[in-house]
């Protein structure tokens, strides 16, 4: 058995180091370390509650709007405030724009470049894949940056800029648009849709979201358009490299439910475990500190009563990440969990066959891009100009709220307690806190730690490429994780 420390992992957001035990050509154990602590929960204590909308987006440059949305939802919950319909729609559009941009950036800039690594140079597919996806030099990086930037004009129009907007508020959004604004957003969406249909899918978005099973996906990927598309290329790689059998995790999935409209979610809320769907009970969330560098004693607590006191010498600590658990169990969050809990037939079939793995995580993310862009078109059309976008109200001096939303990378929760008009306690559980959590008090490894077990190590590899694929298949955001 040999122990290796791999890091820094780049093309993840933030800093990440993983220790691996390797024997017999595969990974036997993994310890995920988030080596940066920033202390937002301590920063927020004592502040005016509305200032959470200034600080929390700055937890993360890539999930910035998601953090805003969770904070706004927590404060809205605390005041019992409902945003007007236009405000709700705009919040959905702005959050959706971030999630789509994140999935898009992840696929082209963070995930695919690993297939252009020299270790694959002997593979029959290598030359084409390297020419398109090589980090920095590949054609895709050059092609997608302008597409991404043009798509994010939606943020300039609706939210001032991205990242770090103050445009999302508990009472809705701060910038009302008129009919001209509506058609401009629709035009930006159309232009982005054209790129997706030409390059990412080689087919209409409607055809992508209608795929109903793994068999249909395989047949679709043989058709000329899809076969030449970027998803088509990924599906070939997945087949050639067995990505559908790589990085299987806990197979327990959680989604808080995404994009609330008229009292329901576009993507349902729930838990998927033991092959079936279950109701989600937020009271069952706890954060365990057994392996984190946090002051002891360690008693797992609900985040609304959570405590964050860093201690770099805490016994048994190996990361600045806490270990969230649902009813004591490890769960995986993200696009795969969201689409599974929502019951999308393609994703249900993929998970029934192979659980959560590198291929199903990536496929779910791209499917979700198609589903969200279609939903955005509908939301923009439903905006009613000259109706309110924003409702003003005052926060009671003593109150509590929880904001549970879905960010691109999965379930994000903010819990706030306000006393005498000031923040008494603010706790954040980010998506990658779930996925990249360390061992809990029972010694059970987190979702990514579990997914790494069994990863093959090729001869001569110091930092196994399979490990790179598995880690990046979660699209980790470490700056959120450690906030």
């Amino acid at each position: 058995m040999s122990r290796r420390v791999v890091g820094p992992f780049n093309r993840v957001e933030g800093d990440l180091e993983i220790s691996l035990d390797i024997a017999g050509g595969e990974v036997k154990g993994a310890w995920v370390n988030s080596p940066l602590y920033r202390g937002f929960e301590q920063i927020l204590a004592g502040k005016d509650p509305r200032d959470a909308l200034v600080y929390t987006p700055r937890i993360c440059g890539i999930c910035s709007v998601s953090q805003s949305m969770a904070a706004a939802a927590a404060l809205a919950g605390a005041e019992g405030l409902e945003a007007p319909e236009n405000g709700r729609l705009m919040q959905n559009i702005i959050l959706a724009a971030e999630s789509v941009a994140d999935h898009f950036t992840h696929f082209y800039l963070f995930f695919m470049p690993d297939f252009a690594r020299p270790i694959y140079a002997g593979e029959p597919w290598y030359d084409g894949v390297a020419a398109r996806f090589k980090a920095i030099e590949g054609a895709a990086a050059r092609e997608i940056l302008p597409v991404r930037a043009a798509f994010l004009h939606i943020m300039g129009m609706l939210a001032g800029h991205w990242p770090h907007t103050l445009g999302l508020q508990p009472g809705g959004t701060t910038h009302a648009i008129d009919r001209a604004g509506q058609v401009r957003v629709l035009a930006i969406l159309s232009s982005f849709r054209r790129f997706l249909e030409m390059r990412m899918f080689g087919d209409g978005l409607e055809a992508v979201v209608a795929l109903g099973s793994a068999a249909e996906l395989s047949a679709w990927a043989e058709k000329p358009g899809p076969a030449a598309s970027d998803l088509g290329v990924f599906l070939k790689l997945a087949k050639a490299l067995g990505l559908g059998e790589l990085g299987r995790g806990t197979d327990r999935f959680l989604s808080y439910g995404a994009y609330e409209e008229s009292g329901r979610h576009l993507f349902k809320r729930g838990v998927h475990a033991e092959g079936g769907l279950h109701a989600f009970d937020p009271r069952q969330i706890t954060e365990d500190l057994a392996s984190g560098w946090f002051a002891r004693p360690n008693t797992p607590r609900h985040p609304s009563r959570g405590v964050t006191i860093p201690d770099a010498d805490a016994e048994g600590g190996y990361t600045w990440c806490k270990a969230p658990r649902l009813a004591g169990e490890v769960v995986e969050v993200g696009a795969l969990a969201r689409q599974l809990v929502d019951g999308h037939p393609l994703i249900c079939d993929l998970v029934a066959q192979g659980g959560g793995n590198v291929a199903s995580r990536v496929i779910a993310r791209l499917l979700e891009i198609a589903r969200i862009v279609l939903a955005m078109e509908g939301w923009v059309r439903r905006i009613a100009p000259h109706e309110p976008f924003y409702a003003e109200s005052a926060l009671p001096p003593d109150c509590e709220g929880a904001g549970l939303i879905e960010a691109a990378r999965g379930s994000l929760g903010h819990w706030v307690t306000v006393k005498n008009g000031r923040i008494l306690n603010y706790q954040i559980v980010a998506p990658t806190t779930w996925n990249f959590s360390p061992r809990d008090e029972r010694g059970v490894p987190g979702a990514c730690e579990q997914a790494l077990i069994g990863a093959p190590v090729r001869a001569g590899e110091t930092e196994p490429v399979a490990v790179q694929h598995i880690v990046r298949s979660f699209d980790p955001c470490m700056v959120c994780t450690v906030h």
């Binding site: 202390g39 301590q42 600080y55 990086a141 940056l145 103050l166 445009g167 009302a176 000259h386």
Partner: protein, 350 residues
């Protein structure tokens, strides 16, 4: 040999030799990189080509992971690879108790702070990307539990990690591209001017910020200017009126050209319906009042424009308030234009 297989090679640009750029991240959110890759015409990678800059390594963009990065850093340390530009994104983390253990460099077991200090001493130019790297920023907010500081400033006081007398090998101080986040063009235009060899100490303001953006005020080009002129103020967010009197806007005092060059197409904070929170300024992370509220003394905002006698401002404000047209007064507290300008008469045809 570099992480991308090229050592000091000529890039596809116009410069005589590719300049090597190394990008590090520490106590921050990564948002400046995410903003930077929103650069348009050209996009960020093309801008590097134009500047003749070779990206030695960037945490979000490069192929190389630890085992490939560490030898490259060794080459830089040994002088085998020249470090022309070092960019740091995020604050320098010195806690707990000066140990730097709140941010250990992944895969190296040493405080990130030490690597930043070492490489700063080797770099031809050092650029602090964003308010955290420049001044400490949000990472230093509250009681600054992480003991975060900027590279050459701690808040508005010169010093920081490298000390007030620090000069990079070029002789220039740290270039502070502040902003939370940075505007992509602030970074791109700084890199291009460095590459073209016509960027000097004289191009920086007293806080080390490039004057080309820091000599403007956020107020310049604000689309709410007419409301400001008449002190026709928004009463709550989403109103069209001026955000200064009630909603905490500091745009008249804050150094940046946000309303001239605009963000993500045609956005800015004030165009998005919320106030300027002074994110390019040292100490913006520790306001003594709520960000969405204007602190007042006897009903008069305390943060008035800094280069105008207060009495004059108050007198002019009273006068302009009294003269406010009905149109401006009513629109200021609406979310849409409810009173359009009266139809122009035009010129009669002869």
């Amino acid at each position: 040999m570099t992480a991308n297989g090229r050592a000091n090679g000529k890039a596809n640009g116009t410069g005589p030799r590719a300049r090597n750029l190394l990008w590090l991240q520490s106590g921050g959110c990564g948002g400046c990189t995410l903003s930077l890759i929103c650069a348009e015409q050209p996009d960020f990678l093309t801008a590097l080509d134009v500047a003749g800059i070779h990206l030695l390594w960037h945490p979000s963009l490069s192929e190389a992971t630890g085992a490939e990065l560490h030898p490259m850093l060794a080459d830089v340390r040994a002088g085998r690879v020249s470090l022309d530009i070092l960019c740091l994104e995020g604050a320098v983390i010195q806690g707990p108790n000066g140990s730097g253990r709140f941010h250990m460099q992944a895969g190296a077991g040493a405080p990130m702070r030490d690597l930043i200090a070492e490489l700063s001493g080797l770099a031809h130019n050092v650029i602090a990307i964003g308010t955290c790297a420049a001044f400490g920023g949000v990472t230093a907010a509250g009681a600054n539990h992480t003991e975060a500081t900027g590279l050459a400033f701690e808040g508005s006081a010169a010093g920081g990690l490298l000390g007030a007398s620090f000069r990079a090998r070029s002789g220039m101080p740290v270039i502070n591209i502040s902003g939370c986040p940075v505007h992509p063009e602030w970074v791109v235009e700084t890199l291009l001017q460095l590459a073209f060899g016509n960027f000097t100490d004289g191009d920086l303001d007293a806080l080390g910020r490039p004057r080309f953006y820091a000599e403007n005020l956020v107020h310049h080009g604000c689309s709410r200017n007419e409301y400001y002129e008449y002190k026709a103020s928004a009463e709550h967010l989403s109103n069209l009126g001026c955000l200064m009197e009630h909603l905490g806007c500091m745009g008249t005092q804050v150094h940046a050209d946000c309303n001239i060059r605009l963000w993500n197409g045609d956005g800015s904070c004030t165009r998005g319906g919320y106030p300027c929170i002074s994110c390019t300024e040292p100490g913006f992370e520790r306001q003594t009042h709520a960000y969405l509220e204007t602190p007042k003394l006897a009903g008069i905002p305390i943060g008035l424009p800094t280069d105008m006698p207060k009495a004059w401002f108050v007198a002019l404000a009273a006068l302009s308030k009294a003269a406010t047209p009905h149109r401006v007064k009513t629109n200021a507290v609406a979310d849409y234009i409810i009173t359009p300008p009266s139809p122009g008469k035009g010129k009669a045809r002869k």
